[in-house]
Every structure is written in C-alpha cells, then in structure tokens.
Amino acid sequence: MGTLLHLLAVFSQLSVLGFGGGKGIIPQMHTDAVTTYRWVSSEQFTQFYTIGKLVPGPTTIFAALIGYAAVPQHPLLGAAVATAAMFVPSSLIMIAFDSFEARFSASPWRAIISRGLAPAIVGLVWSSVWTIARGAPSSVVAYLTSAAVIVLVLRTKINAPMLIVLSGVVGVAALR
C-alpha cells in the first residue's frame, strides 16, 4: 500500500511537470525511482527507458515498468497505478484548458511560453543523456554503437525503434 501511494505521488508530480512532451522529466524520475525509493537499478532504469522508446506510444509509458518492478507481489497493479499517475494529471490539465482556450487563441503567450521553456527542456535532455549513460554498458563496442546511432540520427531519417533494434543486434553479437 505504501509503495502504491509513493508511485502515485512520484508519477503524478512528474506528470504535471512534463513540459515539452515529457522529454525533461527523465533525470527527476531517475532520482525518485533509483536513488530515493530504490524501485529499480540504474541499469534497469536505462533498459526500461529503452523499451519505452521501442514500443509504440509515448516514451514515458515506461513508468509502467517501474511500477511493475516496484510492487513484486502485484506487478500489474503497480504498473497500472504508475501509468495512471503518469498520464491522468496532465490529461486533466489538457481537458480543463478547453474552457480557457478562447481567451488564449489570439494571444502571443502560447509562442512565448513554448519558446521560452525550450532551452530549459533542452538542458534537461542533456541531463537525460547523463542519466541514461549511468545505466548503459561501458565498453568499446557499446560506445561505438552509441556513436554510430548519433551519426544515423543526425544524417538519416531512420526511425528511433529501428535504430534501437539494430543496436540490439550488435548487442547480441558483441555485448553478451
């Protein structure tokens, strides 16, 4: 019961702070799930994030996996609570905004807020790189795999799940 309440508190806070599509919440999620509550290890966190990038839908769906691991007696319940906490609060804000929409439709504030928040979100993405790196394998092959993916992200249109699958193939061959 205590763990479920903690899942609810952690993920609903991340939900309402999930600006920029949720790109910026990864470092705080790691602090909560790995350092504070020890629901998962750094390596698991990185692997769950990876699964979130691999499956269809929003990346932050990997909250479900943290909930799954956090409540070993009732993994499905843990997953459901974490996912609901991750998605419902931000959704309620979106639904409630409908009543204010008319007031904001012609206002310059939308552009000011989204452009103004962008640098902080980008900084948080850099911190996410650091967070994810803590649980990623450290070997020459792993570094070369990451480097190759960076080049492919910047130079080609290959989509994210495909890049991850290709990296997985390298892993089966060389990172066992």
Binding site: F19, I61, A64, L65, V149, N159, A173
Partner: protein, 185 residues
C-alpha cells in the same frame, strides 16, 4: 465533408487505439490529422491550434492531441474516450514487454540485446540533444540557459520543479522581453 459529425465514443476510442498501436517512431501527428479531418470531427484550423496547445501543456504530445480532438468531437466524454484509446494499447504492449523482460533478462542473448539496445537509446538521446541544441543556436541567452540547466540538474542535483521555475521562468521572461522590444520597435 462532416461524414461523421457526432461520432460514437467507441469509434473515437478505436480510432486513437489504432493510431497508437500502429505508428512507431513518430508519424502519429500526421495520421491523427488525416483521420480526424477525414471524419469531420474537427476542422484544420482547430487542429493546428490543438497541436500547438498539446505541445505547450505538460504531457505527451500524442495523448494531449488525442484528448483535444476527442473533446472537439464529443466534449469531455470524447476526451476520455480518446485518452483511453490512445493509452491502453501502448500500456498493454509495454506490459507484455515487461513480462518478457523479467522472465528472460538473465538469458545471455537477451541480456546482450538489451545492452545493445541501451547503447542505441543513449546514442538516440544524445543525437536528439544535439539537434535540439542546434535549434537554439541563434540566441546566446538560450544556449547559456541550456548549459546552465544541464549543470544545475546533473552536477548540482537541482530538483525538477525549481529547475523549471528558474530556468524555464527565466527563458519565458527573456522571450517576453524580446517580443516586447520587437513590438515597440
């Protein structure tokens, strides 16, 4: 042509469930746009406004956009149907992935694959960070804010709420001043 001006809640949920479970790695916005416009649930001006709002407010863009379209079609029940439709299939898929993970993660081949995938996801995130930073290159204030935020979070372990208040708030203030100056000039 409003072919289906008042859709059933089931058809809203099903439409977004199909989009959410079939579109890998982006492309969802285009398929949502195509589906909701073709069905006459929303007009294209509203859709563009919705896309912008979905990106400004917290939450995954895909979920927010689905909620917006569902709400335009059928009010709050439509929004709830869209949310259920867009989030339940990914939840089910990730649960299957999770069950397999906990069953097979210690198998050496699966372990190797996961490590490879993790290296790939790291490269992907770093690539995204580079692209996003490149988008901010025109303003020194923005680049400084990017760097200051990353240092505050990763080195000084500043929590997310004060980070958004200080660096997000600072960015919004800077943007507001810039817009203000431009409109006065």
């Amino acid at each position: 042509m409003p072919a289906e001006a008042r859709p059933s809640l089931g058809s809203i949920a099903l439409t977004f469930a199909t989009i959410a479970s079939t579109s890998f790695g982006g492309g969802q916005k285009a398929s949502i746009r195509q589906q909701v416009l073709a069905r006459g649930w929303i007009n294209s001006d509203d859709f563009l406004a919705g896309l912008e709002i979905a990106q400004v407010l917290p939450g995954p863009n895909l979920l927010n956009l689905a909620i917006y379209c569902g709400q335009k079609a059928r009010g709050v029940p439509g929004a709830v149907a869209a949310l259920a439709g867009v989030s339940i299939p990914p939840f089910a898929i990730v649960l299957v992935a999770g069950a397999l993970y906990f069953k097979f993660a210690s198998n050496p081949f699966v372990h190797g694959a996961l490590r490879g995938c993790a290296a790939g996801a790291l490269g992907l995130t770093l690539g995204n960070a580079l692209e996003l930073t490149w988008d901010e290159r025109k303003s020194w204030l923005s680049v400084a804010l990017v760097a200051a935020t990353a240092v505050a979070v990763s080195l000084l372990h500043m929590p997310l709420l004060p980070v958004l208040a200080v660096f997000g708030g600072g960015g919004i203030l800077g943007e507001w001043l810039r817009t203000h100056k431009r409109s006065e000039a």
